[in-house]
């Protein structure tokens, strides 16, 4: 039974989120501005916070900064601002994830679940030989098992090998031709366009919102990479 703090100045959005999260079996606390959120976080045991950015009295960014002073509870920012700079600012200030408005309720639930699993699994997968991880993605090369937030996912051998290549070099950009040569062990003669398709499938399996990937990123015109430190 996890308690989730929902904070938004729009009461209808709070109610809608309340309905979704309650139906998923979470307990919710409502707040309508940053100050109420901080007060609620002090008086209750909170496991996750959904926080809007544009709010009266105390905005989401300042509230997040304030909460981070004494807590590492996961915070997901809900933002109507779609500019990159806002997202980067939010993440730098200590938020764990962000969702842009107007959001899909299913995506919200998926992200909430993902954050809760990571928060409660206390450190996640251990580091060790044959163990690779990035964010919620963990790969046990010995057992040939890949988990996302602890949930095992099924991958084809090619998808598995591509993921292994990318995971073992986080932050490095691999072009389709390089991936093809390393995974297929064949020189690439224009047949590398299959790589892109495989990666799209892989992304759909790993990412909550494949159109807006958080971990397996497309570097347009150059290749693909696993986000470093994600």
């Amino acid at each position: 039974m996890y308690t989730i703090l929902i904070c938004d100045d729009d009461r209808d959005i709070v109610s809608a989120l309340d309905i979704y999260l309650t139906s998923e079996g979470y307990q919710t606390i409502k707040a309508f501005n940053g100050k109420e959120a901080i007060r609620a976080a002090e008086t209750h045991e909170i496991h996750l916070i959904l926080m809007d950015i544009m709010m009266p009295e105390l905005d989401g960014i300042r509230a997040t900064a304030k909460l981070r002073e004494g807590s590492n509870v996961p915070i997901i920012l809900l933002t109507a601002k779609s500019e990159d700079t806002d997202k980067i600012l939010g993440l730098n200030i200590g938020a764990d994830d962000y969702i842009t408005k107007p959001f899909n309720p299913l995506e919200v639930i998926a992200r909430v679940k993902s954050q809760l699993r990571r928060y409660t699994s206390l450190g996640g997968a251990e580091k060790g030989p044959g163990l690779l991880s990035a964010g919620p993605i963990a790969m046990d090369d010995g057992a040939k098992v890949v988990t996302v937030d602890g949930e095992p996912i099924s991958l084809t051998p090619i998808e598995y090998n591509i993921l292994k290549l990318l995971l073992s070099h986080p932050g490095q950009v691999f072009s389709s031709a390089q991936i093809y040569e390393q995974v297929w062990n064949d020189p690439a003669y224009g047949s590398e366009n299959t790589v892109a398709v495989h990666i799209r499938h892989l992304r759909e399996k790993i990412e909550i919102n494949p159109a807006e990937p958080r971990y397996l990123k497309v570097v347009w015109g150059l290749g693909y990479k696993i986000e470093k430190g994600a």
């Binding site: 959005i13 779609s82 107007p102 299913l106 072009s175 799209r200 497309v218 347009w220 015109g221 150059l222």
Partner: protein, 694 residues
Amino acid sequence: MNKLQGNVIAKLCAWAVLLAAAFGAGIFGVRAMLSFGSVADDSWQNSSRYYNAVNERRRELVEGIKLSQQLEQLERQMEEGTASPLAYADAEALREERAKVEEQFSRQNTWFRFRVLTDNGQTLLGTNLNDDEAMIRAVQNVHYFSFELWEGDIYGNASYYDPETGEGYSDPPTAGLNPETEAAPLKLVLEYGVPEKIDDSIQDEFSQIWSMWNMDRAAFDQYLTGFLSLGALILLALVWVLWTAGHRAGAEGTVTTWQERIFFDLYAAVMIASEVCLAACFIWTAEQLYWGAANVYSIPNQDFNGFYKLGVMGAGAFFAAGVGCAALLLRTLAVRLKAGCLGKTTLLCRVVTWMVKTIHDFLRFLPFTWKLVLGFGAYVVFSFWLIAVGRYDGVFMLMYFCLQLVLLLFLSWWAYGYHRLRQGTKTIAKGDLEYQIDTRRMPYDLRLQAEDLNNISAGLSAAVDEKMKSERFKAELITNVSHDLKTPLTSIINYVNLLKSTDQTDPKAAEYIEVLDRKSQRLKKLTEDLVEASKASTGVLSVAREKIGMAQLIDQATAEWEERLTQQRLTLVTTLPEGETWVYADGRHLWRVIDNLLSNCAKYAMEGTRVYLDLERGKGQVALSVKNISREPLNVPAERLMERFVRGEESRSTEGSGLGLSIARSLTELQGGSFDLAVDGDLFKAIVTLPQAN
């Protein structure tokens, strides 16, 4: 400091001190001048006063000799009985007069010493020397005078002899003045002089001159000291007057008076004329006093003392007036200099300035063609003159060389100005509208041109700024509006979703919810596109251009879209050149361009047709073209398709915001590329051209 400068009392005091000191200095000055002669000479007998007095004595003596001659003649005639009946009375009168002269020349009454001799020097006719005295020892300078005595008249020539230096002069007897007379003239020589050492025991003009000489010698130093110290005081007061000139208590800056409204040269002329007059008066007074003092014996003493004092005072007044005039002139000069209006208030300067300005303006505002013609004419005339009068020597060569040098310098000046103008124009033409051409030291005509250009560029720059500002404002407005739209839209999407999860008894309700869902999703897409379109077209998006591979990008894009295109039964045909094709672009923006184009294909292409994706490179350019067959007839010109909210079909029944092509074009142009559309029947073709990277 300012308070002191503006103090009226201090000013008046300074003027009073100046005039008083000048008056005193004038008095001391004239006295010093009068006594200067006495100091300059070692002997009191070198003064012209002495000469005048001694000459006067000589004249009287000669008159006396003439008298006694006449008396002798008369007595002789009386003895002979040829005299007129009343000759006795005449003789008595003559005797009286002679006695008076003898009295005058007696040793008891004068320091004058004389001897009268016949011209051979043998016979002594008369003297006032003692018997044991020699003339040469009795007096300082012995003067000689020879003259001829006829009956009743004297013709003489002065001769001077200085026994100390041996110098002397002698005028020859005036020829032709001797009338024809039966009696031979009596030739006489007069020796006379005055002793060097005299005193007040005998009162005559010489004792007077001597005592004045002594007094002058004693007093000169005092006079000079007085004059110099008062002169210093005058200078001090003058400095004060000049320092405070033009300042007034409670007034900022320099205050001018009516005096400064008079032209300076006129003022100065009047003042200098006054100075000359006053100086003449001063000198005239001094001269009068000098001679007056020398001839004092002929004027009763009391009267002369009054006259002398008055004269000295008058000289002081003249001097004071002169100093006052000079001070006034200097004061107005100082005020004019302080106010910086000396040139403006000088008639000559005004006239010259006016003439120079008129000629300058005439030349300056002359049409350029006329300037050229006149300038060239002047050059030709000067050259011809030089050649015509030239003697073809060094000077000629030097002048000719100078002429050419001046011409060269002038042309270089022009050429340099033109070069700057050209550079500036080029810079502005390249788009730097902020650039201002430096017009300093430019020829006048070029400067006009440059200034006009600067004005144009400033106006243009302001217009562009204005446009940019309004575009930015528009983008901001759209961003804010869409942000405000997003919050209610979030609620709509969420509650529609909730509705979907509830059970609906009416089967139609599920259908309606489906419509709501679709339209809310479209609204979402529309607001996102709107923000992006406005940002892309106003250029507020940041562009990070780097070297990216087109083949890789097309590969990635194909992977994203292949599935959806296949659903629409569209076949994607990709043609790529050998190897990777590199371009300079922002990967995310270029992806959006291709994304929009492929999304267009998915939306508007006729089902079952092929979509061609061709990449070509050459001439430093890379062209990506997307071709498809439109489902609906494309009865819209290609240009209009790129306008916002325009779609190939007018019914707007299909999904899509109508912003896709507009965004694609703006993003392409942001990255320095070009975006072209071509419509040929139902064939729709979009070409993205980007600069190739090596």
